[in-house]
C-alpha cells in the first residue's frame, strides 16, 4: 500500500511535469468544455424567451444560466477520457510495457487525469469567473446544500473516472471500435444532463437516464448546488446511489481487467 502511494505520487509529479510541457495543448482541450455549455445556455435561453412564462422546463433564465455554469465546472472536474485512449494503447501495443510494471496502468492514467485538472485550473478558473459575470446565474441554495453538493461532486469525480475506465476496457476485445469513446461521450451528454437538464429531456430518455449512472457524474451535484434537491433524504439517497455505482464500477473494472490482461497476453504473446 505504501509502495502504491509512493508510486502514485511519482506519477502525479511526472504527470504535472508533462502537462506543463504541453500547456498549449491542454488549454485547447479544455476550450470545448467552456464553449459547449455557453452555446447550450444561449440556446435554452432563447427557448425560454419564446415561452410565455419566460421559463423552460421549469427553470427561469437565471436558473438556466446557473445550470450550465455549474455543470461547466463540475463537468470539467469530472472529465475522463480513457474510453478514447484505451483502444489506441491496445492496438499500438503501447499497453505491453505498461503491463510489465508491477503497478496497474490505471494508476498512471488516474494521475494523468488529475494532473490535467490541476494544471488547467490556472486557465479555466478565471474563465469560469468571467463567464459567471457574463451570464449572471441565479442560485437559491442553502448552506447545507452547498456542503452536501461538495460531497456529491467528489463522488461524481470518482464515479466518472471508474465507470469510464471500466467501459474503456471493452477496447481489449473490440480493438477496431474507436467508436466506444464517441458512444460513451454521447451517452454522458444526453443521459448525464450535459446537453440539457434531465427534467427537460423527453420522457422516454429520462426513463432510461434514471436507471443509469451518468446522471450522478455531473447532473446530480449540479442539481444540489442549484438548490433543486429540496430534502436532506433526497440528497442522501442520491449520495448512496453514487456510492453504489462506484462500487459496481470498481467491481466490474477488476473483473474485466483480469479477463482483459489474460486476453491481451494470449493475443499479442
Amino acid at each position: 500500500m505504501r509502495q502504491l502511494a509512493r508510486s502514485f505520487t511519482a506519477f502525479l509529479k511526472t504527470g504535472i511535469g508533462v502537462m506543463l510541457q504541453y500547456r498549449g495543448e491542454i488549454v485547447l482541450w479544455s476550450v470545448w468544455g467552456l464553449v459547449n455549455p455557453l452555446v447550450l445556455y444561449a440556446v435554452f435561453k432563447a427557448g425560454a424567451q419564446s415561452n410565455p412564462d419566460q421559463q423552460i422546463a421549469g427553470l427561469s433564465i437565471g436558473e438556466v444560466a446557473a445550470y450550465f455554469f455549474t455543470i461547466m465546472i463540475i463537468g470539467h472536474l469530472s472529465a475522463a477520457w480513457d474510453t478514447h485512449e484505451m483502444g489506441w494503447y491496445v492496438r499500438t501495443g503501447r499497453m505491453s510495457p505498461l503491463l510489465l510494471r508491477p503497478i496497474m496502468p490505471i494508476w498512471k492514467s488516474l494521475a494523468d487525469n488529475l494532473s490535467y485538472k490541476v494544471c488547467t485550473l490556472v486557465f479555466v478558473g478565471p474563465m469560469w469567473i468571467f463567464f459567471a459575470l457574463l451570464i449572471r446565474p441565479t442560485f437559491d441554495t442553502a448552506a447545507w446544500q452547498v456542503a452536501l453538493g461538495l460531497v456529491a461532486t467528489l463522488l461524481a469525480i470518482v464515479l466518472s473516472y471508474t465507470f469510464n475506465y471500466a467501459v474503456a476496457l471493452i477496447a481489449f476485445w473490440a480493438t477496431k471500435l474507436d467508436a466506444v469513446g464517441e458512444i460513451y461521450f454521447g451517452l454522458v451528454m444526453f443521459l448525464g444532463g450535459r446537453f440539457a437538464p434531465l427534467p427537460a429531456m423527453p420522457g422516454k430518455i429520462r426513463w432510461i437516464a434514471e436507471a443509469l449512472p451518468f446522471q450522478y457524474m455531473a447532473y446530480f451535484p449540479t442539481w444540489i448546488f442549484m438548490g433543486k434537491v429540496h430534502t436532506r433524504s433526497e440528497v442522501f439517497l442520491g449520495l448512496a446511489a453514487q456510492l453504489a455505482w462506484i462500487a459496481v464500477s470498481i467491481l466490474v473494472l477488476r473483473l474485466m481487467w483480469a479477463a482483459a490482461v489474460k486476453r491481451y497476453t494470449a493475443v499479442s504473446g
Binding site: G24, E25, L28, W29, V31, W32, V35, N36, V39, A42, V43, F44, K45, A46, G47, A48, Q49, S50, N51, I56, A57, K176, L177, A179, E182, I183, G186, M189, F190, F195, A196, A200, M201, P202, I205
Partner: protein, 258 residues
C-alpha cells in the same frame, strides 16, 4: 483531382468492415444531433423565431458542411502541417503547379460523403416539413450560399494551417476550429448581439451554416439580396486575405535543407 479521388475509393473498398462501422458512426452523430433538436423543442416552440423544421435544416447543413470539411479540407490541412514540420513541403514547392492549389486538393476522403448525404436528407426533410414541398428557387439559393460558406471555411482553415509556418508544433490547431465551430451548430440569432456581430465580421461562422440554412427554408423571404452580397464579398475577401497570408508564410519556410 479525379485521380486522387479514384485512389481514395480503391484504398477504401479494401476495408469493408471499417466502412460499415464508419457509416454507423455517421448515423449515430446525426441521431445525436436530432435528439438534441427533439429535446429542445419538447420544451419550447421556437428559438428566436426559428422553429423545429428550421433547426432540422440547420442540423442538415451542419452535417453537410462538417462532412465536406472532413472530406476535402481536413486531410489536406493535416498533411500540410506534417509537411511543414518534416520539411517535406519542399516536394510540393518543386512541382510546377501553384503550391496553395496542390496542397489543397491532394487528399480526398471519399467515404465522408455519407455525412454530406445524410445532412442533405435531413435538410430536405426540414424544408419539406415547413413548406410542404421543396421550392427550386430556395434550393438554388441554398447551394449558392453554401458555396460561399464553404469558400470561407476553406480560407479559415488555410489561415490556421499557415500559422504552422511560425509555430511549427501546433498539430492541435485543428481543435481550435472545431471548438469554435461548435457555436455554429445553432443559428446565430440565439446569441446576444455582440456575439452575432463577432460571428459575422470577425469569425464569419454566420455565413457557413446560418445563412445557407435560412436560404433553404425561407428562400428569398429570409435571405435578402444584401445578405447574398455580404456572404460573397466575405468569401472573396477571405480568399484574397488567406492567399496573401499563405504566401507570406511560404516565404518564411526554410525547408528541409538550408
Amino acid at each position: 483531382m479525379r485521380l486522387f479521388a479514384k485512389v481514395s475509393i480503391l484504398n477504401f473498398a479494401a476495408y469493408r468492415f471499417d466502412m460499415i462501422v464508419r457509416m454507423l458512426v455517421s448515423i449515430m452523430h446525426l441521431a445525436a444531433d436530432l435528439i438534441g433538436v427533439w429535446t429542445i423543442f419538447s420544451n419550447t416552440k421556437a428559438l428566436a423565431g426559428w422553429k423545429w423544421q428550421h433547426l432540422c435544416v440547420v442540423v442538415g447543413v451542419f452535417r453537410i458542411v462538417a462532412g465536406g470539411i472532413r472530406m476535402s479540407i481536413v486531410p489536406n490541412m493535416r498533411r500540410v502541417l506534417e509537411d511543414i514540420m518534416d520539411g517535406t513541403l519542399d516536394f510540393v514547392l518543386l512541382k510546377p503547379v501553384n503550391a496553395q492549389y496542390l496542397v489543397s486538393i491532394r487528399e480526398f476522403v471519399v467515404w465522408r460523403i455519407v455525412d454530406v448525404l445524410l445532412g442533405a436528407i435531413i435538410a430536405a426533410y426540414g424544408c419539406i416539413q415547413l413548406n410542404g414541398y421543396m421550392p427550386l428557387g430556395a434550393v438554388a439559393l441554398f447551394v449558392f450560399m453554401l458555396l460561399a460558406g464553404f469558400i470561407i471555411v476553406y480560407c479559415l482553415w488555410l489561415m490556421l494551417a499557415t500559422l504552422c509556418f511560425w509555430f511549427v508544433r501546433i498539430q492541435n490547431i485543428e481543435m481550435v476550429f472545431w471548438n469554435v465551430f461548435e457555436a455554429a451548430r445553432f443559428p446565430i440569432v440565439v446569441y446576444p448581439n455582440w456575439v452575432q456581430w463577432t460571428f459575422t465580421f470577425l469569425i464569419p461562422l454566420a455565413f457557413i451554416i446560418t445563412f445557407p440554412a435560412a436560404a433553404f427554408t425561407g428562400g428569398m423571404n429570409m435571405i435578402r439580396p444584401f445578405h447574398i452580397a455580404m456572404a460573397w464579398i466575405m468569401a472573396v475577401a477571405m480568399f484574397i486575405l488567406s492567399g496573401w497570408f499563405w504566401r507570406i508564410g511560404l516565404r518564411r519556410y526554410s525547408g528541409a535543407s538550408a
